[in-house]
Symmetry: C2
Subunit: 255 residues, 2 copies
């Protein structure tokens, strides 16, 4: 059996169904290249459940998950992911590979950043459009489609959750900071001749950790100071707020 | 202290942080008018945590939450919700009322139907547009805006999660069935002269329960038979599927 388990955003967000599955497992893999706990306390979870996690990095996953799938033919194996399990495309690949190999699978959801963000800043879940990822510009890779989607959402009166680029390798880590994301957004806005002066932006960082921080700001202010926010940081670009949302924003948390 | 706690979609989806909060509470309220467990097993959870839930219905909540808030000034009180905590507007009202009364609050997220649906049917979370609610047509209440939003999403190449109307009172319960929702969609399509012949639709019912069922169908077929699906039932109206999504759809679950 191969369990796909969402761990949530901190160790206490583990669900009982996740714990019960982990207890039966002979080996537990932890996907360690698309996310992490904000508190970096996976060791505390290991102590709590009295099992060790074997970390998997991007290079290994790109070579295929054949080893894990082979093990899961005869043993109970867990493939754990921070947050929820289906946000990254590689996760669906391993699920499909397992199915191709007739390995029995079970999907166990975890608390998702997508559920937590609207809750923290008091915006209505029905008023979010498609989510985008803001990606680091590289030599031959300079997408701007995320900007178009933000505009599209704004025109429809919808908020946009923007996830920020992450590149975690065994030897190096890169987490895009909100000010970098904002500089990129301002560059594209200039190219496209879009006025972003009135855009209201939330920075949600370290969600569900002791370092949690919510900041309401705008593109220009955010871009001008190299403030380091805690992982994970996301931006929410707001559409026009409803009366309720304004009330909530002022009251749910003191932003 | 007033805890707002998401219970998830079945009793084993309770998180440790929810359990730890419940343990400290003198009284536990359960919002019982916008949702429920598919398995109806809140009693099992009561046994497990050795505490009773006091159920709250719509009428009581509309009279205001003043009693609960007054209690929370001197005691630890929990306000529990099935799934996640911020999907219903009334929930933000009580949060705001607590804040106005200077009652300390803590928000504890739960596994959300919004995270579970894309996972179960293998559609990419980035390709969902705004969520809609399909509401029962009544004498002086006949909204069609949800249909426009579905069209909008479709035009942008995005899937739509459609929640179905629920009316739970102390003495009566109404859960809109997928075939009723579909009949309403077909009526509006006819009025607006929209061809829905090619629309692919998932019915996701009893998510995360033993009665879980996933059906891939179309509007016409779904509307023609009064099939009763298990609670909670949602529809997903698909945009054009990507290659990956087709692969996933065939493999994640045998729909």
């Amino acid at each position: 059996m191969l369990y796909f388990i969402g761990l949530g955003l901190n160790k206490d967000q583990l669900t009982f169904e996740a714990l019960n599955a982990l207890k039966t497992c002979d080996k537990i893999y932890l996907e360690s290249y698309t996310s992490n706990y904000a508190d970096n306390n996976i060791e505390k979870l290991e102590t709590q459940i009295k099992k060790k996690f074997v970390k998997i990095y991007r290079a290994e996953s790109e070579q295929g998950f054949s080893k894990i799938i082979k093990e899961a033919k005869t043993k109970n194996i867990a493939f754990c992911v921070f947050g929820n399990i289906t946000s990254a495309t590689t996760h669906s690949s391993i699920i499909n590979e397992a199915k191709d190999n007739k390995v029995k699978i079970e999907l166990i959801p975890g608390i998702s950043i997508f559920s937590v963000i609207p809750m923290l800043i008091g915006l209505e879940e029905y008023r979010f459009g498609r989510t985008v990822s803001i990606v680091k510009q590289e030599k031959n890779y300079s997408p701007t489609s995320f900007f178009d989607y933000i505009l599209q959402n704004k025109e429809l009166g919808l908020h946009t959750i923007c996830l920020l680029d992450i590149k975690i390798y065994k030897q190096s880590k890169y987490f895009m900071q909100p000010y970098e994301a904002t500089i990129r957004l301002l560059e594209i806005a200039k190219e496209k001749n879009i006025n972003t002066k009135d855009w209201k932006i939330f920075v949600v960082s370290g969600a569900c950790s002791k370092k949690e921080n919510l900041t309401l700001t705008n593109l220009k202010d955010l871009s001008q100071k190299e403030t380091k926010y805690n992982f994970p940081s996301s931006l929410v670009i707001c559409a026009k707020l409803t009366y309720n949302e304004k009330e909530n924003r002022n009251k749910i948390k003191n932003v």
